[in-house]
């Protein structure tokens, strides 16, 4: 018999196809390619936006036009041709839906294929879902249940119409339009995304969820998410992403802003498996995302992410710990395979007294991929008694990939306690033999060991996601052995 070795696994990984790679033929309305002020105006007009919003976009566009694409990340790729991208693509449908049954049946079938049947979710999972296909939110379930608690959860395009005062107050306060190249681009052209507001003292009774999917070829997806947790409230927010396989690179440049007011808590979880490109590194999503949260006094923001997809990932979910006693957390698993490149990590900016942050990052590299952790822990001079603990572990599979750690630690206060640890290891022959001896084959053993390696992060995911995430890890790294 032939033994299943790590080499076999590696080979299999390289031949493993993207499971979610199918294209749904939905009639959609797409803008011509290219970007200028008129396109920005047209997007704004299409969405029937008030003048302040149009102006805000135009300002962002002007800032963006003067900016240069950043080069500092440890990734190399062909720069997107920004004039070759269509900046708006919406599935044609009735403008507003009150009932899920009104959603295009093809679209619903897509969700079924993805294994996220809305009906199922509605009934079983107690999850309210806002689905963004390409650029437009198509369905928001559970609106009524949430409405009773005063929770607003809707496409941000609707929120601009229905709750302009809230959007205006918070949009761009954590990620300013001029923050970085992609954030500026997003601010100019974002077409939809989710808005969520949890009123004072309310504990959101269910997980809120957004599902992103890029469907149309040659389009960019620029969604904008804004979550505001008012004083003393709590919300757990889930975000999932997939894209069909295509040869050309698709651009995804999202912005997520979280605002946790005094005593509030936001838990934001992401499972991202955008199409990573084929095994020769062709195609795949460019994922350039700006995610940042602001914590007021006693507030807490916790980012959890499982990243298995995208050709290029550039993403640093961050926390600004402005209020005293605020807490920031970042738990991440990033898996790269084939030619994927990920440069991801977090920034913890400690401004308030007694602020605390925890960073647990687990990187798994296979194939010819490059996996980088880049993080900043900054303790400012007024941040008395700040605490940070960071742990970055890398697991390498094979000899053609790379794992990199770039932690920046800046401390200006003597009462700070900062601890950073990093390790790099591989799956040991001894571990595999031990598992084999107990009757567990090599493939299963690797799954078990990878799972153990990732445990501290998997444990932080909400139940519904943890199972999916574990499956994703196995899919990205294993495949089935006959």
């Amino acid at each position: 018999m032939s033994k299943y070795t790590e080499d076999d696994l590696r080979e299999e990984l390289e031949t493993k196809e993207y499971e979610y790679g199918f294209y749904t033929d939905i009639e959609s309305e797409t803008f011509a390619k290219g970007l200028n002020e008129d396109v920005v105006r047209a997007i704004s007009k299409k969405k029937n936006e008030p003048k302040w919003m149009t102006d805000w976009r135009l300002e962002a566009f002007r800032v963006w036009s003067k900016m240069e694409e950043p080069e500092w990340a440890n990734v190399s790729y062909k720069k997107p041709e920004f004039q070759e991208i269509a900046y708006y693509s919406a599935p044609k449908q009735k403008p507003k839906l009150n009932n899920i049954d009104e959603v295009d049946p093809d679209l619903l079938a897509t969700f079924e294929k993805l294994g996220i049947s809305l009906e199922e979710q509605k009934r079983l999972a107690n999850v309210a879902v806002d689905i963004v296909v390409d650029s437009v939110s198509v369905a928001t379930t559970f609106k009524k249940t949430l409405g009773e608690k005063g929770i607003i959860f809707m496409p941000i395009s609707e929120a601009i119409q229905e709750h302009p005062e809230l959007v205006k107050k918070y949009l761009g306060t954590v990620v300013p339009t001029s923050d970085n190249f992609y954030a500026a681009l997003n601010s100019a052209v974002f077409s939809d995304g989710s808005f969520c507001y949890i009123p004072k003292g309310v504990r959101c009774p269910m997980e809120l969820s957004t599902y992103f999917r890029i469907n149309e070829g040659g389009t960019g997806q620029f969604e904008r998410t804004l979550v505001v947790a008012d004083k003393g409230s709590f919300v757990s927010y889930l975000e999932g992403c997939t894209a069909p396989s295509r040869d050309e690179n698709q651009l995804h440049a999202a912005v997520v802003e979280l605002i946790a007011l005094d005593d509030a808590e936001i838990k934001y979880s992401t499972v991202q498996n955008w199409y990573p490109g084929n095994n020769e590194g062709k195609g795949g999503v460019y994922n350039f995302v700006t995610k940042r949260g602001l914590c007021e006094t006693n507030a807490k923001i916790s980012w959890t992410q499982v990243e298995t997809g995208s050709a290029i990932t550039w993403k640093y979910p961050s926390c600004i710990l402005k209020g005293n006693n605020s807490v920031g957390e970042f738990y991440s698993i990033a898996v790269t395979n084939n030619y994927q490149q990920a440069d991801t990590g977090t920034k913890m900016i400690h401004l308030g007294k007694n602020t605390k942050s925890t960073i647990i990052s687990k990187g798994i590299s296979a194939g010819k991929s490059q996996n980088s952790y880049r993080g900043l822990v900054q303790i400012n001079s007024r941040a008395e008694n700040a605490r940070n603990f960071s742990q970055c572990d890398s697991l390498l599979m094979g000899n053609k990939c790379g794992a990199h750690t770039f932690p920046y630690i800046e401390v200006k206060n003597k009462t700070a306690q900062v601890e950073h640890e990093a390790t790099t290891s591989k799956i040991g022959e001894e571990q595999l033999f031990y598992c084999n001896q107990r009757g567990i084959d090599t493939e299963k053993a690797i799954a078990l060991i990878v799972n153990g390696f990732s445990k501290e992060v998997l444990n932080k995911l909400p139940m519904e996601f943890a199972v999916e995430a574990q499956k994703l890890l196995e899919i990205s790294l294993e495949g089935s052995v006959g």
Binding site: G402, H404, T405, Y408, I409, E419, E421, T423, K426
Partner: protein
């Protein structure tokens, strides 16, 4: 005229004093062009993100301190490790001082770079080793362009050098501001062993900027122990560029003790070109005032089965700033690498700052690499405990700090150096207690 311009326009004058038809001068001229292109590093460069040279580049440095100054041994004896017999290569304002030195050509060469660069008998070594591993970046190029003097050490194979070698650069302050470009070359052949102590010392409060480049070649199975003592005046700045190439089974350790100076930048680079190599990088930094010490290390693991051990301790008081940027690269051929890096810091005052960037770049899968970085304070409980037993707070702090830094001292192999460092630490911490209990 800014400093870069001044340096560039001084090059013709420098050429007056050297043989411009030599191979060496071609190397110099190429480096000169490189510096002309690159200029001084700015904070925009990732490698200089946390260290700005702007303030010290404003001084009007004299580039060729020409007056030969003599100094009395009694005045500078304290800067020597004088309680043991050593070879000494001593420079005053960049010029060799035969009076203070003790060189040798007896089976080993401990002498001057100026001889090595010009005399025929050194030519084979110079051709093989001079400017071969020094990185062609801005400040190294600047040094290469003006390379003329420094220490030249050549240890033939199977030689155990029986006494340590001290290299000391004194600046007398005859000029209001002095810039020095010392250039050292150390070649240690197979199975040889040498210990080196290096120091830069200004004797007045006048400004000094030393941009030193040292190249070290450690051949198979050789051992090099290098101790760098940095305890200079507040007006003296130092950029130390040290490049070390190791062959199989060699062990090279560099201990850097940074206790004083204005801006101190240590670029310490190790290249492992064989198997079963051990590279040891250790440092203690204790600074206060507005002093700034930046340790920028690189260990490049190129071949399999090698190790590296880094351990840097820093204590920062008042407005002092510490930087630790440690990079470990493990190439894909470098399987079975064990690379450890540790950086622990204590901030003593509200105004002190530490910036750390411990960086791993790993391309091989069968490796053990780890780094740990901590920033914290002294244990209040321990302090109180000691106070309760009658130990003064200052002494208690000093004891804890000494204990904190001690892991670095443990690997110092010359007892007199260890004693000296211990005394310097006591001095730094302003206590009069013996730590060696």
């Amino acid at each position: 005229m800014d400093l870069k311009e001044k340096i560039i326009s001084s090059y013709v004058a420098f050429e007056d004093g050297v043989n411009i038809n030599s191979d060496i001068h071609e190397i110099r001229t190429e480096a000169f062009q490189n510096f002309e292109k690159l200029g001084f590093p700015s904070k925009k460069l990732e490698a200089w993100k946390y260290t700005s040279l702007n303030t010290i580049l404003k001084e009007d440095y004299s580039i060729f301190p020409d007056k030969e100054k003599s100094i009395n041994l009694a005045d500078v004896k304290q800067y020597f490790i004088h309680d043991i017999d050593t070879y000494k290569v001593i420079f005053i304002d960049g010029k060799y001082s035969s009076f203070l030195s003790e060189t040798t050509h007896d089976s080993i060469d401990v002498c001057l770079m100026s001889s090595a660069l010009t005399k025929a008998k050194y030519k084979p070594v110079i051709e093989n080793y001079f400017n071969k591993i020094a990185k062609q970046d801005n400040l190294t190029s600047l040094n290469t362009a003006f390379s003329k003097e420094g220490a030249y050490i050549h240890i033939p194979k199977n030689t155990e050098v029986e006494k340590p070698i001290q290299i000391i650069n004194f600046t007398t302050g005859t000029e209001a501001a002095t810039m020095l470009q010392p250039r050292n070359l150390i070649v240690v052949e197979q199975n040889a062993h040498v210990q080196i102590i290096e120091r830069h010392q200004s004797l007045t409060e006048n400004a000094v900027l030393t941009n030193v480049v040292t190249e070290v070649y450690a051949d198979r199975h050789s051992t090099v122990d290098f101790y760098k003592i940095q305890n200079d005046h507040i007006s003296a700045s130092l950029v130390d560029n040290t490049f070390i190439e190791q062959q199989s089974e060699s062990v090279v350790s560099v201990h850097t003790f940074s206790f004083g100076g204005n801006i101190t930048r240590n670029n310490l680079n190790f290249y492992q070109k064989g198997e079963h190599i051990d590279s040891i990088l250790k440092g203690i930094t204790i600074i206060e005032g507005k002093q700034h010490v930046d340790h920028h290390t690189l260990v490049h693991h190129i071949e399999p089965n090698c190790e590296s051990h880094q351990d840097y301790k820093g204590i920062f008081d008042e407005r002092a700033t510490g930087v630790f940027n440690g990079k470990v690269i493990v190439e894909k051929e470098a399987q079975k690498t064990n690379a450890y890096q540790k950086n622990n810091n204590v901030l003593v005052s509200d105004k002190s700052t530490i910036n750390a960037k411990p960086q791993l770049e790993i391309f091989a899968d069968d490796v053990k690499c780890s780094h740990g970085c901590t920033i914290g304070q002294l244990d209040e409980e321990a302090l109180f405990y000691m106070q309760q037993r009658g130990i003064g707070i200052k002494e208690a702090r000093a004891l804890l700090m000494y204990a904190f830094a001690n892991t670095v001292l443990e690997s110092v192999k010359i007892p007199e150096v260890k004693d000296r460092i211990t005394r310097l630490i006591a001095n730094k911490l302003n206590v009069n207690i013996g730590f060696n209990i």
